[in-house]
Every structure is written in C-alpha cells, then in structure tokens.
C-alpha cells in the first residue's frame, strides 16, 4: 500500500513521489471545470461568481512574455485542476502521506511538533504552527485551538470560506484583483486551497505560522491561494516552504498571496522555495508563476518579504508592497540561486502612495552553469508619497556561463523623496577560492563560504529556524554546482 519511491537525483532530496489513492478531475479547463470545483467545495455563490468572472476574463488575455524566461508552451487543457488524496476514514490522514511529511521534516501532529522543540519552560508554547497543503487540498492544520485562544484564525482558505465568509469576502482579491495578470487570473478561477490567517487587533501571534506546500500528482496544476490579514496593532511571522517530486514533465504552480496590514500592524513573510528544479539537462521541474502582493493599508504598518529561492525550473515572481498608509514600511530581501538550466526572473515592486513611506530592497542573485538570473524591480514614488525613501541594493554573483541581468525601474513623482540605488555584479572570485583553499577548505566548502557570506544580509532577516534550513538548502544546492 505504501510506496514512497525515490525518483530524485542525489542532489534534490525532496524529489520522491507518494503513491496514494486520489480523487482527480479529468484534464481540461472549461467553465464547467470551474463550476464543478466550486460545487465540490460547496462554496457560496459569491465565490463561484468570483471564479467565473476570472474564468471569463482569462479567455480574453494571454500569458505575459516580457520576462527573461523561456519554456515550452503550457497546454492548459492537458492539466488536471484538482487532485486530492482520499481519506479512507474521515479525519484520518493516510499513513503514506504522514510518512511523506515525516520524510520532508514537516511535523503534522502537534505532539511531533512539540518534540522538535527544546522545552526549557513548560509555559512556553511551541514556536511553529503548520498548515499542510498536499496537491489541491489542505490536509492538516496544527495548533488551531491554541491560536484560537488569542483570537487568531489559522486555517485552510476552504475552511475560511465556510466558517468566516465575511472576512474572506472583504479581502479576497482586494490586493490582487482578478484581472491583475494572466496567472493571478487563472488562479482566481481555479484555486483549490491555501492558507487563511487573521490576526485580531492588538495581538502578537505567539508562534510562527507556517504553510508547507507539497506537489505530488503528475500533470496537475497547483493553484493555492493565501490570504493573511493583520488587524490594527497586530504582528505575525509567516513562513512558507515547498517541495515537489522529480518528474520529467513540467509542473505548473500558479499561486496568489495577498497580505493586508491595518494601522501599525506588521506581517513578516518568509519563503524558502525549493520546488523541483528539473534535471541537469533542463528536463522537468516546476514552473513557478506566482503573484504575491501586500497592502500596507493602515498608517505605520509594515510588510516584509524575505525569500530564498533555490528551486523551480522557471521562476516568475515579484512579491510587492503597496504602501498606502502614511509612514508605512515595505521590505524585500531576496536570495535567488540558479544552476544548470534554471531560469529566474524575480524581484519586487514598491509602490509608495502614503506620506513618509519607506522601502528597502536587498536582492542577491547567484547563478551557476547555464542558468539565467534576472532581478526586476520597480520603485514608484507617487505624487502623494511626500518625504518618502527607497533604498535598493542588487548584487549578483556569477560562475560558469550563467547570466545575471538587473532591471531596476524607478519613477519619482515628488521632490521631497529620496531614492538610492546600489548595484554590483561580479564573477565568483578565483582568488577568494584559492585563499580559502590555502587554509584547508576544499572547493565546495570554499564556494559555500563565499556564497553564504554574499547572502548574509538576507539570511539575517529570516526567522532563526528557517535561517538554518535556508543555509543547509543553499549548501545542498551548491553541491555539484561547481564543476
């Protein structure tokens, strides 16, 4: 019954797949697919309408082509839009799926989560609560009760639509409208699951909230949707991790993440993206086409994006901030590593609307082999955003035949604001590697030290547990990257 076969090459350790009974849609995308999906999830009419509106608009638009990436055309009719593991008994996660997450180091049971924590004080509650999404559905969310004591809602978006429709209705699509872009529009039509968080007024979320996305099914798109709302004077640190099996075909992942902060609230959103990158010849891998945007709605609110991107065959992703509230703050810290035939086109947009708004962008691109790594950034300081500031720093480090491209766009529409931009691009220094090797470090360790040092500013922004994981992931990624 349980067969966790290892399809992975030796570098990508999460590349196995899980054999489990599933409920799937036949491939194909029509209005009927959208209706069936909505009906299956027993959604209220306004959600069905939201989806249908998106589907109708999707028929009138085309995939964007401006990014520095190339991939074989996606046959949207050949994809399945729903795949969910069958629970043999209700409320009992199949053993093979438990084993999958165990293998990936994601604690599904609260007890297991607790075991991973050094308990110095019995009154200290665990540090991480997890929502786990397997293909099209959320299969478990831990510590919900504990969080509920603080008034925090942490559940799958499907559950939120049922249990908290007024909240979802107010915010869904409020930051990323249905018509925003092709992939966001597609997601709006066919999103299957994802995470919903609401932090009430004045509450500092006592633990890190974590969503772990796992793609397992072949030829199935994953379209998850995340919505996080931080009410006035609240704080939350949210982490996102993901992996996928090593299949020969590309797997489409088109997610939408919307964040909203009210007055003086703060959301710290961290991602360690480790989707399957494809093999050394560029066969297979995840197409990671993601729209992430945060709205600093309230005054003095803050949204901070930190991302470590090592996976995916193609990445198209620009976590952005709309700084609408006066004195609001947006941050973007990114490490993007590409090797082999990987292509990344990633960056951010900082849209300053409110007065005295401040944004910081630190982007570190590292490319090996034949990969290409593009930073694309847009800073717009509007007329109303007086006395605003942006600081941008983009550095790239290259090795082999890789390409690094930096495309920063700045537009400033008032005279009282200041925009600063610093950039550097360089080859990984042979001299530095020689120096380190002369002190006994082998080439791989030497490269790792140089690259880790290069990324330090960004790694420092990650929550502690995540920083160690990111570091380890980076080292695994670097293994074999040096020829």
């Amino acid at each position: 019954m349980t067969d966790v076969s290892n399809l992975a090459d030796n570098k990508y350790t999460a590349g196995f797949n899980t054999v489990t009974e599933t409920e799937d849609f036949e491939p194909g995308l029509t209005e009927d697919t959208v209706k069936r999906l909505s009906a299956l999830k027993n959604e209220p009419e306004w959600v069905t309408e939201f989806r249908l509106k998106a589907f109708a608009h999707l028929q009138t638009i085309k995939e964007p082509t401006w990014a520095h990436v190339s991939y074989a055309p996606i046959d949207y009719q050949a994809l399945s839009y729903y795949s969910a593991p069958k629970f043999r008994n209700k409320d009992e996660i199949p053993q093979e799926i438990l084993e999958t997450f165990d293998k990936l180091g994601v604690p599904l049971h609260e007890r297991d989560a607790l075991l991973g924590i050094e308990k110095k004080d019995p009154n200290i509650i665990p540090t991480v609560a997890v929502d786990v999404v397997f293909d099209s559905v959320s299969i478990a969310t831990t510590f919900q009760k504990e969080l509920k004591k603080h008034g925090i809602i942490f559940c799958s978006i499907s559950e939120a639509i049922q249990e908290h429709p007024e909240l979802v209705k107010e915010y869904l699509g409020s930051v990323i409208p249905v018509k925003d872009n092709y992939f966001a529009c597609l997601n709006s039509a066919v999103f299957t699951d994802g995470t919903f968080c609401y932090i009430p007024k004045g509450v500092k979320c006592p633990m890190e909230l974590n969503t772990y996305f796992r793609i397992n099914a072949r030829n199935t798109g994953q379209f998850e949707r995340t919505l996080i709302i931080a009410d006035a004077d609240s704080y939350v640190s949210y982490l996102e991790g993901c992996t996928a099996p090593a299949y020969d075909e590309n797997t489409l992942h088109a997610a939408v993440v919307e964040l909203v902060t009210h007055d003086r609230a703060e959301i710290k959103y961290s991602t360690v993206q480790n989707w399957y990158p494809g093999d050394e010849n560029g066969v297979g891998g995840v197409l990671n086409f993601v729209t992430k945007r945060g709205l600093c709605k309230g005054e003095s609110s803050k949204i901070s994006w930190t991302q470590v991107e090592t996976g995916s065959a193609v990445t198209w992703k620009y976590p952005s901030c709309i700084l609408r509230g006066d004195n609001s703050v947006g941050e973007f810290y990114s490490v993007a590593v590409t090797k082999g035939k990987q292509q990344a086109d990633t960056g951010t947009k900082m849209l300053h609307v409110g007065k005295n708004t401040k944004s910081t962008i630190i982007s570190k691109g590292i490319s090996f082999g034949d990969s290409s790594n593009t930073y694309r950034g847009q800073v717009r300081i509007g007329k109303t955003a007086t006395n605003s500031r942006n600081y941008t720093q983009c550095d790239s480090l290259m090795l082999d035949n890789s390409k690094a491209i930096t495309i920063p766009v700045v537009s400033q529409h008032n005279n009282s604001s200041i925009v600063e931009h610093e950039a550097s691009a360089g080859k990984l220094s042979e001299e530095a590697l020689y120096y380190l090797q002369s002190r006994g470090l082998d080439e791989e360790n030497a490269v790792s030290l140089v690259v880790n040092g290069f990324c330090k500013d960004v790694f420092q922004k990650l929550p502690l547990e995540f920083a160690a994981e990111a570091n380890q992931l980076l080292n695994v990624t670097l293994e074999g990257a040096v020829g």
Binding site: S429, E430, E431, A432, Y434, Y435, L436, Q437, S438, R439, G440, L441, D442, E443, N445, A446, L449, V450, N452, G453, F454, C455, K456, D457
Partner: protein, 238 residues
C-alpha cells in the same frame, strides 16, 4: 621538511623560477632577492596557485606536494601568508578560522578556539571585536598582515612561508611578530621560511639558512648568514 628538486615555475610559458634544488628542515630560513625575482611566486607555486605551471619535484614530509590540490597541501601542513590577503564579504574572521580548523582537523572546541583567537588578536593590538570583523575587508595593510599571523598561530602548520610579514607593521608590532615567530619555531619540529628585506627582522630571527634568488630565476642556498648582512648593507650587487 620541504625538498625541491629542479623545481621550475612558469607563468604563460615564461620561466620565473629555474631548476631550484633546495632543502628546508626544521628551523628558520630566509629568502632574499631583488624585487620581482619571484619570491612570492615561490610561495604560491608551492601552495598550488592555479596561475603557475610547475615542473620538477617537491617532496613535503615524504609526500609528492605537486600532485596535491591546494587544500590537500594545507591539510598536509603547509601554510603561506599572503601579501594582499583576499577580502571576503559576510565572512567573519573567526568564522573563517573555525571553518579552516575543522578542515585541517585541528582542535574543534569553539570556546577554546575563540578565547585563543581573541588572545592572539589582543596581543597584536587588533581590538576585542576582531573576531566579528569581516575577513580582510575594511582592514589596513598592517591589520591584514597581523590577521595572517593569527592564522599561523591558530592553524599551527608544520611549515610556514611568510611573505614579508613585517611590511606595514610598526616597530612595536615587529617586536611582537618576532616573539610570535620565535614561539612558533620553539614548539619544535617547525619550519619557518621568511621572505624579507628587513635587516632588523633577519638579525633578530638569526636564521639557519639563507636562500638568494637572482633575476635569472636561479637560487643559491647557504648556511653562511653573514652574506645576508652584507646584502642588507650593500645591496644585491655589492
């Protein structure tokens, strides 16, 4: 023990060092020569710098040095100091030493190592925060030299080639340098090769042998240290 036989070093086909047959056993040795004769080349070619092509044979404690990768040479106990050590962003001095000590299979006790590191930095007047500073970044020439000396102390090689360790140091620092070099050799069975023009240093170290490199890339090794003092007084053509 380092023995070179007909050791030739070329860069882009040009011979820099020609047929060197030299022997360095435990003790202190000095290499002298006019500017540009390849004293630094000698050190880096032995360390395995990829910019140099080598011919001949080099035996290092019974091993074929030239067959080894740079990091293997370090692990075999060879150390060279750099004239201009490479800066590495985001890597702290102590993190670097820690990684190097792990690679070299040295004492792995972080607490002890940190305390020794700080002591060494304090001795050299580098301040108490030196362990946290980024490697060779925003450091003066003299500070970088001192940092190389800390590495010599911490990494404790069998044989060290120090390339003008005195340059950029003031009189007081040179005094400490001499003490530290003495202490290194006094551990026993250590070989120290110093490239220097500095009379004071050579006098104080009282070397066992002197190697003179000439512009043709040839070398002469002698135990007659008096020659060194003559050169210091009269120059290489005297």
């Amino acid at each position: 023990m380092l023995v070179t036989q007909e050791f030739t070093v070329k860069v882009d086909g040009n011979t820099i060092l020609n047929d060197l047959t030299l022997e360095y056993g435990p003790g202190i040795h000095v290499i002298m020569g006019p500017n540009g004769v390849g004293k630094s080349t000698f050190a880096h070619a032995l360390m395995g710098n990829p910019n140099y092509d080598t011919e001949g044979a080099v035996e290092f404690y019974g091993k074929d040095l030239l067959a080894m990768e740079t990091y293997e040479r370090a692990r075999a106990g060879l150390f060279i100091s750099f004239q201009t050590p490479t800066p590495i962003e985001g890597l702290s001095n102590f993190q670097f030493i820690r990684q190097a000590m792990v690679s070299l299979n040295k004492n792995n006790n972080i607490k002890e190592n940190l305390s020794n590191f700080r002591q060494s930095a304090t001795d050299l007047g580098l301040g108490s925060e030196w362990d946290k500073k980024q490697l060779n970044l925003e450091a003066s020439g003299g500070e970088k030299k001192k940092n190389e000396l800390i590495q010599l102390e911490m990494l404790d090689p069998k044989l060290a080639i120090l390339d003008e360790p005195d340059s950029g140091l003031d009189i007081d620092a040179i005094k400490i340098l001499v003490e530290k070099l003495r202490a290194f050799v006094d551990k026993g069975d250590k070989t120290l090769i110093i490239v220097s023009h500095y009379a004071e240093l050579i006098t104080k170290l009282n070397p066992d042998t002197l190697t003179i490199l000439d512009k043709q890339g040839n070398a002469k090794q002698t135990e007659d240290i008096q020659i060194a003092y003559d050169i210091l007084e009269n120059g290489f053509n005297g």
